[in-house]
Symmetry: D2
Subunit: 372 residues, 4 copies
């Protein structure tokens, strides 16, 4: 039975791989067990956030050296998902997800379900497919493949799906135009939102949250009532396909880790976080005490400003602030709310939540170590 | 018996006085009952935050018109304390504090204590006194006078002391130099911190939190272990004296409002907020339900980044961020934690907490309407 | 013969009217001679720039007191055009434009032309007219009226037209919708650009720079090849009409001041500024010496980032910077180039140049005192 | 006779080494000829600017692969000086400096002087030496060694000295304390300025601009009247020694390149730039025409805000802006002034100019290709 291991290591700067190195040196994880690395880096999380490629370059060099392969080949075997922005009190860190094979039937969770991870990739998209139904459908298919790899037969057992997706650049738009094809948008920044949105809708389609009949090109980026409560998508320039990491609780997996999720209906939906914690058996009132906080391996949440400029009827200024980007405010807020619950600040809160939860809200998932 | 009234009105922009106008028009408060206005405005809360003078100018014009006096005279009768910075999800609003006189013995709280407010002013300081013991001692004396006005005989009944204090400018430094006097610092920005710090130490001295023997010029701004757990100070260029507003629960006051406070030991000290709520009889677990949240008239908190760059051992990036000022991150964080508790975002979280709570933490006070 | 007076006074902060006061006290200008005040204030020049309303509130209070009228009536008689953003080395200041009546035929410039100013207003626009041809045509008509007031019969004598124009708000959009009318955009920020663009096209129409046949709703904001080389428009929330200030050299005006203009083809078009200076007889090479710089009463320029991300083939990062708004970079750049020419930094460089000069460029005008 | 080659290549992002690759592929330069790479990257140029390490990591990987050595060894043979901040219109680019050996006496400049480059390193400093006279003296000695390597016997032939210098971290301060040694400052950010300042004073000492008798620990960072007019220093966390690159015109070097410099007395000192251009025989008036601009291989300048808040008597707001760091404003300004002169935006303008030129000013050097 396989076991999904999750390690959380702090970083001193975006290129700091000393925590990963120490894990490997200590024998806690073998390099070839690592299937994904999620990282919170301290950039602005926006267009000119170069902490993400810096972290990727450092991780590829480190993992390449450990595995004895070229850094350029790491991306094909390990999903590296860097999320910029540690506003408020959020703490830069890496989440290292590994799959360890084990003999059948030995795990602690042999009779129940345990945390499972599966990854899958779509084929490369053509520029004209990005932010459109082609991306939605291919994402849905890949989610189903990743679920199969993870042994997740029931959609209700899936609690979080992370997607890394491409964006349009001027060069890509021109390449499509040369073939006589038009693209979803000529605004490269807007293409990030459309790509995230199409990816999230694909997840919602695969998980049965959104009926296929409700979907066409025109709803992508516009129908905010269509969303997945378990999708988290981030767009990056370095790929042309979608990379999918599915997390859930599957039969046939061992180990003490479990995942739960809820949908935050707005940025201050503290009860949603408490609900996810309660699902994992954590004490329900107030902030987790230190010993319980230590058993929370990861909190994964999406944050975005509400479009109507309000939180429960009170005005927020995120959308009108020309000094600080709205998503930066949103991450700071959700980071504070999540830290109030967990009592720690090394939490994976990322921004840009098109079709990922309701307007102004977003999914939140917790991975915890359950006690017998 | 007097009653202290507290009104919270939203603002659509820093000069928006429509909420204040509506209160007066409705008869809820008479202009001459207003003793103080606290405002959260949507500027950066730093040196070049012009939302504060804009709000003051608008409030002085509005109150001057209502009272039939020149706007220039309002500052002498109403304490106007504007705090810039509504990062994260914080919502711009005004808190209007009024003192209503009533016949003796009639109030609901005749047999116990009720929210009380008192204000007092020091004389104008000489530039060389700012950030030094002269300011500490004069502040302490003024706090005692404000306590007397509020009928607060016991220091344990005082729960929050807001001070508006002056700062040094180049012109003020030169004026002192012309008289042969040196000032505490030639860095005008640093003078804001020293003035806030001296004011907070004065509060701590008056409230018996800090022994006079521990105080001299050298500890101001340096001995972070010396602090008041009930002080909140903000520095402004528009005055040369300290203006003090003392809030507590006093015998001889009527009405359903009470105040409680705690010291947040760090920016994510959710239990401290819950403690203050519990003192007022609010339900203790999780986020307040809407009906209880409505009974929280105000939450007042100070926020600042910890000097060691850590929150409970995890790195924060506030002090190393050259794009967003550290105090902006801190307000966003504490605003998120407080909103997690209260379930609302119109909370008075302000930054710059020298000697106001421990390093990285700060006082938090809650004014609530108690139920019989 | 009338004379157009221009005064430039520094400000110490956005609400500083001490320079204006001193001018009036000294007798240099009478309050009722003032027809317009242009101000550079030190805000961000973007959505949440509250230095503009702060300056307007202070100017209205000061001029109201001087004229013995309510501050609320000042806007109807004096055009107050505040432009936020003094990035790079730009220096906050006010330009005070006054019209002084004089006996016929006495002026120094009796035989030629001299600086002339005329103002005019459109009627209030309906929300659905903003950013559309109705605004274009009404602006063009008002420009012609302002030209008539200024005695500017020839369009070639007009060198700069400043327009203050309205924008859409959610409330205005809803008011139109209630009448069954749709608006040009539901994005309130984008409405600023459309309103500026329609205003600039109206100026270009009035000045014969753009044929009416080229204009319809669809070109507003899209056809960057259609532009006025003398238009400068800024949008504000505080009005629903367009306010126009036309500056030119007219016969029948006296005094030593003249205006010239050029179109900067990009942000580093130093020769364009030198061309305008040469038109006024200033020495042509390098930076103006101090005595000549003193004779430059005002430099008025528009700045914007080029849409293709390049300046003369080299990449700029303005459009990709999520920390500093692109228009802030653009003002800093043009401010540096203009200061290189003039040798002073109190220059009126403003941002947002839709249809005001070519993409990435903009008009520049210089008002100078000519020597006999 | 050696020749100093200078190549300027644009970058599309901080890790873009395609321009360097193309140069090498084309045979224009051999990898082992490269002695230094200067880079302007598009970060904030402040504490959390991670574009610098990203560029260094990419350059080390690329040069390591070309030279067949480990990336970790590149720093010891090639000086990599990254300067963050391309505010205003500045364009990200690399300057690649190479030394090509040639047969004696063949060069075009055999009878005169030509551009020469020399590099040298100090030993590693102890933490307590940083920002103090030990660093000043060691820098001066290294400058003299680099001059000797470059064949620059006369200090008047030296026109620009770039230094990369270390800074203090908490760990370094503690290491010194463990040995009983105190450091120049406990503020790690301030240590950057002291290290740059000490380095600049060392350059001034070596070049005879500052008498040794004027120097002691107390003047570092305080006596702004002591400065080098040819020093450019930048501090980085990645080294403990000073790395020096000296540029001048030396006999015994060949090729068509020459360097000249001037001291800008303030941020708008356009005549200083024109003076340096004139020294190289460029046309003196206005902006360089395109064909002349192409012959300017590099412009190297330092920028900083004046401490008194004024430029030629007019207020700037750089020091009071809590949204944009003062050095960012200063780079934008000087970039605009320099672009006005050169007609291009790929200029090496860097910030933080302690003892590098007068307060508010700084050195400017131009490398040009002279025509026979």
């Amino acid at each position: 039975m396989p076991e999904c291991l999750v390690f959380r290591v702090p970083t001193r700067h975006p290129a700091d791989i000393s925590g990963l190195d120490a894990l490997i040196e200590s024998g806690a994880v073998a390099p070839d067990e690592i299937v994904a690395v999620f990282g919170k880096t301290e950039g602005n999380g926006c267009v000119n956030d170069f902490t993400r490629p810096l972290a990727v370059m450092a991780l590829e060099a480190a993992l390449g050296a450990r595995l004895g392969v070229s850094p350029a080949t790491i991306g094909a075997r390990v999903a590296l998902v860097m999320s910029g922005g540690t506003e408020g009190g959020l703490s830069p860190h890496l989440l290292i997800l590994a799959r360890r094979e084990g003999p059948a039937g030995e795990g602690k969770a042999a009779k129940g379900k345990a945390l499972a991870v599966g990854t899958a990739f779509t084929d490369d998209f053509l520029p004209e497919e990005i932010g459109r139904m082609a991306q939605v459908r291919a994402t849905a298919a890949a989610v189903r493949r990743a679920m199969a790899i993870a042994g997740l037969a029931e959609v209700s057992d899936v609690h979080f799906v992370q997607v890394k997706c491409p964006l349009l650049t001027s060069a890509r738009i021109q390449e499509a135009a040369a073939r006589g094809e038009g693209v979803a948008t000529h605004d490269t920044y807007a293409s990030m939102g459309l790509s995230r949105g199409a990816s999230a809708l694909g997840i919602g389609l695969a998980l049965g949250e959104i009926p296929e009949s409700a979907l066409d090109d025109s709803v992508i980026g516009t129908r905010t009532d269509l969303y997945s409560g378990r999708a988290s998508a981030s767009a990056g320039i370095e790929l042309m396909r979608n990379e999918i990491i599915v997390l859930g609780n599957a039969p046939g997996w061992s180990g003490p880790l479990r995942i739960a999720h809820r949908v935050m209906r707005d940025g201050i939906d503290f009860p949603a976080i408490q609900g996810a914690l309660a699902d994992l058996g954590f004490p329900g009132a107030g902030q987790l005490p230190p010993e319980a906080a230590e058993r929370v391996l990861a909190l994964l949440a999406k944050a975005e400003p509400s479009g109507n400029g309000l939180i429960r009827g009170r005005r927020h200024i995120m959308n009108d602030d020309s000094d600080i980007n709205a998503t930066r405010h949103a991450r700071a807020l959700v980071g504070g709310v999540a830290a109030a619950a967990i009592g720690r600040t090394d939490l994976f809160v990322s921004g840009g939540a098109e079709h990922q939860g309701p307007d102004g809200g977003g999914p939140v998932a917790v991975i915890g170590r359950v006690v017998a």
